[in-house]
Amino acid sequence: MSSLWEYANPKKFIETAQRVLPWVAGLSVICLVGGLAWGFFFTPDDYRQGSTVKIIYLHVPAALMAINAWLMMLLASLVWLIRRHHVSALAARAAAPVGAVMTVIALATGAIWGQPMWGTWWVWDPRLTSFLILFLFYLGYIALWAAVEDDDTAADLTSILCMVGSVFALLSRYAVNFWNQGLHQGASVMRAGALAGDTQERVSNVFAVPLFVCIAGFVLLFVALVLLRTQTEIRARRMRALMARERMG
């Protein structure tokens, strides 16, 4: 039985990633196309929200992945800080833009969904606001990676920023909840949560199965993209190292 840390070796990682990637990518495409088509064409309208309920198949998975991507970056950062595996740091770097795009999707679909449902594109609802803050964190993290020239320094700095940022993201979540307490009495706002959960079991099953397929599709897509982008980062770093050596003589 081989240890998980074997994949910290860039060569081994690339080999395995190349072997796994087509499967993950294929499965994710199947799940996404299947789940979205199922949701779009073959689910009934919600009696209250009409056909807008179909947005749930994009909104909820994207929102889930926006948070999970950050968690994955946090884990990868910890692994880098503790065990100094370069692949881990590069995987965190590779995941950040994917997470940022997921956040944008969650925000955009939320805004479009909110327009007919709440009569406004944007409310300073705790959830919306914390996603906006999460997006800002992604931007800062990506910008810091891009700005620092030395790779190891950049990995260290972004890892620490990721840890500090996680604490502050939680704080912000709490702060934002507190801040908007008086304006929105919560319950009416997150119908999506109620739909996905158990509250409307009858309706829920019709919507929930394709939703889970879509969530699986988004997870697999995230994994596929991170595998691909991590390979790219490993190659880019190796290229930089080789070119530096060339210049030396």
Binding site: F40, S51, L58, T109, Q231, T232, A236, R238, L242
Partner: protein
């Protein structure tokens, strides 16, 4: 066989459109950069051991 979207057609279609556009763009950019870096690395490696 378009489903009946009713008065929310624009809402639903635009959110599907934007999301799919973003996902496809992200994937395309990732793939393009992957291909470019792979090509350039191959070139550098080839130069190193002639």
């Amino acid at each position: 066989m378009m489903p009946e979207l009713g008065k929310y057609a624009a809402t639903v279609l635009s959110s599907y459109g934007i999301s799919i556009l973003l996902l496809v763009a992200l994937t395309a950019l990732s793939l393009r950069r992957a291909a470019r870096v792979r090509r350039e690395l191959a070139a550098v490696e080839a130069r190193r051991k002639p």
